[in-house]
């Protein structure tokens, strides 16, 4: 064992989780064996490894660590499934689909908008306000981002405008959720509908049927030439600026949420608003700030989508990503690193779905459903075992 691994292992809550991680890794290795560059043309070694992962998972699950045991079992099953499918395919096709550096770079691109929205949602939900409206706030960011970038001819003004638009949408949600004590699911849904209607209306009104022009300034990529052309260079060499911001944002959010007084206040409002009020925290103020911030972050993810990723806008282009982000948040147990890991998982499934058309053009359409299926499975498998903030979704009445 290296010197690096020891402190990490020591900080793990208990030995069972360490075993679970071993199970998860073994499950992943089971899949990896059958894929390029190794491409073992037999599923037997994978089956052995997958069985080990599942056994470890079951062993952990019956000893009480059901969440991580479940992860290990799932890793084993998926590992064998992927390995088995890979052995059915030809090596040529496998090598054209599974280009690890391209897949991982695409994973980061697909995960970034999700990560922004999920981290935003964490602020809102940790402060006690359910934010179903993330989807609409992303859409606002996507449209107003590209519109302002076009009209003002500057990508950073576009990004700023997108963030402000998302913040405004979130503020509406905040007023409804906090002062009007509306059902937060209903007001979040209203924000989603309004965003679809408003952005669709303005899109047609301004750009008509031609769509957004192609010469809109976009958020630049960060070129890191010193990484070279190798595996690392292919993944990290020319990532978009927003991807790097998202990568920085994950530990930053963790630090704010769990290591600063502000984070403590936000969490207090989400767990026990009455107690927070008693010690002099303005519950309304904290919640307004957290919800508005969540909209701004989600909108930043949306703006990345329109002026960083695809460089165009079409109606309802977020396509449920806000909800996937919400699922990632739940999957990650309302914690930044967990949510980011879930975003990477969903991002990977999107990246894979994008490359699978190699196999069958018509079936490729079906693969588009993969991220949604995975989200559904994730939500079904984890909820009940992940613990939401105690007061989430309940309006707070001052006394």
């Amino acid at each position: 064992m290296t010197s690096m691994a020891l402190p990490v292992a020591a900080r793990m809550p208990n030995a069972l989780r360490r075993v679970a991680w071993v199970g998860i890794v073994v499950g992943i290795v089971a899949a990896w064996l059958a894929l390029p560059p190794l491409t073992i043309r037999s599923w037997v070694p994978s089956l052995v490894l997958a069985l080990i992962a599942v056994m470890l998972g079951i062993g952990i699950a019956i000893r009480g660590e059901r969440r991580f045991g479940g992860f290990a079992i799932a890793a084993g099953l998926f590992g064998f499934g992927i390995a088995f499918l890979a052995t059915l395919s030809t090596v040529g096709k496998l090598e054209s689909v599974v280009v690890w550096s391209a897949l991982l770079a695409a994973m980061l691109r697909f995960a970034t908008p999700l990560a922004f929205a999920a981290l935003g949602g964490m602020f809102s939900e940790r402060s006690g306000v359910v934010n179903i409206g993330l989807e609409g706030m992303m859409l606002m960011g996507a449209f107003f981002g590209i519109m302002a970038a076009d009209k003002l001819d500057s990508w950073w003004l576009g990004l700023l405008a997108g963030i402000l638009a998302g913040g405004a949408a979130a503020f509406v949600h905040a007023v409804w959720a906090i002062h009007l004590q509306a059902d937060q699911i209903v007001s979040g849904t209203a924000v989603n509908f309004l965003a679809v209607g408003l952005t669709g209306y303005l899109f047609i009104d301004i750009y008509g049927s031609e769509g957004t022009p192609t010469d809109i300034p976009s958020i630049p990529n960060v070129h890191l030439g010193f990484l070279g052309d190798g595996f690392v260079g292919d993944i990290f060499g020319s990532l978009n600026l927003m991807i790097w911001i998202a990568i920085v944002l994950v530990p930053l959010t963790w630090a704010i949420m769990f290591k600063t007084p502000i984070g403590l206040r936000i969490r207090a409002c989400g767990e026990h608003p009455r107690a927070a009020d008693t010690v002099g925290i303005s519950v309304y103020g904290v919640r307004y700030g957290a919800v508005t911030l969540s909209g701004m972050l989600a909108a930043a993810g949306g703006a990345y989508l329109s002026i960083g990723f695809v460089n165009s806008f079409n109606e309802n282009m977020t396509a449920g990503r806000g909800f996937i982000a919400l699922a990632a948040l739940i999957f990650g147990n309302w914690r930044p690193f967990g949510a980011a890991a879930a975003c990477l998982l969903f991002g990977f499934s999107s990246a894979l779905a994008q490359r699978l058309p190699e196999y069958s053009q018509s079936a490729s359409v079906l693969f588009q459903a993969l991220p949604y299926v995975l989200t559904l499975i994730a939500v079904a498998g984890v909820i009940g075992r992940s613990i939401p903030p105690a007061a989430v979704g309940r309006p707070y009445k001052k006394q």
Binding site: L180, V186, T189, F193, A195, L198, I204, V365, Q368, T375
Partner: protein, 425 residues
Amino acid sequence: MSTDAGGAAPPPGVDPSGLGPELQTSWIERYGVAQRAEGILAPLLTTVLAFLVGGLVVLVTTGKNPLTTYRAIFDGAGLSWFFQIGNHEIGLPWSDAKVWFPWNVNDFESVAAVNLQQTLIVTTTLVFTGLAVAFAFRCGLFNIGGQGQYIVGAIWAVWIGSSFEGMNPLLHITLAIVVATLAGAVWAGIAGFLKATVGAHEVISTIMLNWIAIWIGSFLFGLGGPLQNDAQSSVPISNDIVESAKLPILWGDPLLQGLHTGIFLAIVALVVYWALLNRTTLGYGVRAVGFNPEAARYGGIGVRRNYFLAMAISGAFAGIAGAIDVLGWQFRLATGDIQTSQVGFIGIAVALLGRNTAVGVLLAALLFGSLVTGTSTRNLDPEIFQPELAFNLTLLIQGLVVLFVGADLIVLWLLRRLRRSGLSA
């Protein structure tokens, strides 16, 4: 009040709002009327507010007169038909007798009549998708998945409708509708099952099921897909359904999307919805769980069972909507229809505006049916307002309605103030 001899009529000159039991009843009656009026007034106010804001958007963005725009939408929806009151006769069914009727139902082809047929077709669909949301709401569940359940129902209906050629029409239609209903129920039942067993939030699971349904549909009818049209291999569309599976046309030209008999099913569904909720043990359980799951559990009502059942029944309503759209006027499914359809989502606004009651859902469905039809490219006068823009106006108004329904606190507060000042005056 009659001044019967020997009756206790108040002596003249005495203020009737003095003491006595008579006043009490009248006060309670007045309060009762006001309370019932709140049930109508609050949604009405919500709608008016939404239209005001929508009109403002029209004015600010295009500089056009909102009233002219709304008038064009009104005409596009064919609602002007109702104002053409005249002296007409209709024949009673199963007899030769004719009776007077204010509206000319024999008018099949006038623009207003054709437009109204479209509106009623959409209203029929929206009644079902509205009920799909409303039923789950009564159990405290938010079914955002009406769209997916609708699509699944439509897929099964188009598959059954385009197979089994030469079947007895009644049997064929019944089979298609029943299977679509079950498909919708199963699709929503997945979310209900997950809610009941592991507590997965139905909002997220139904949204995911929506997208899964959309992509499955796009796969099935897309190029090279298993259910793609046999004759035209380059068009992403399903086979046409056969004649025996088409719903009979009630009013209008069968070739120009006349109003189909599915509207009767919608009325039946409204009655079933009301009776199921208010007159059965199942409905009692569903409502009890909706009011307070903890109390229901304490009272011996199976909360999990009701979560599952409420979702499944909700999905059944949405599944029927998909079936009658396919059997009534679409007759085929294109992948474009599947990806752009919004009826499931509009159902949310219908249910919320209709306060989850049968009558409310009917009225709200009429409102949104008129809006959707009135803003469609086929019906709206492009000289007055660009239809593509107007459809987004519909979505905007839908969002505003949901937003203002969420703000019932303001509306109720306003009404209470009005009433208090009215009573004390």
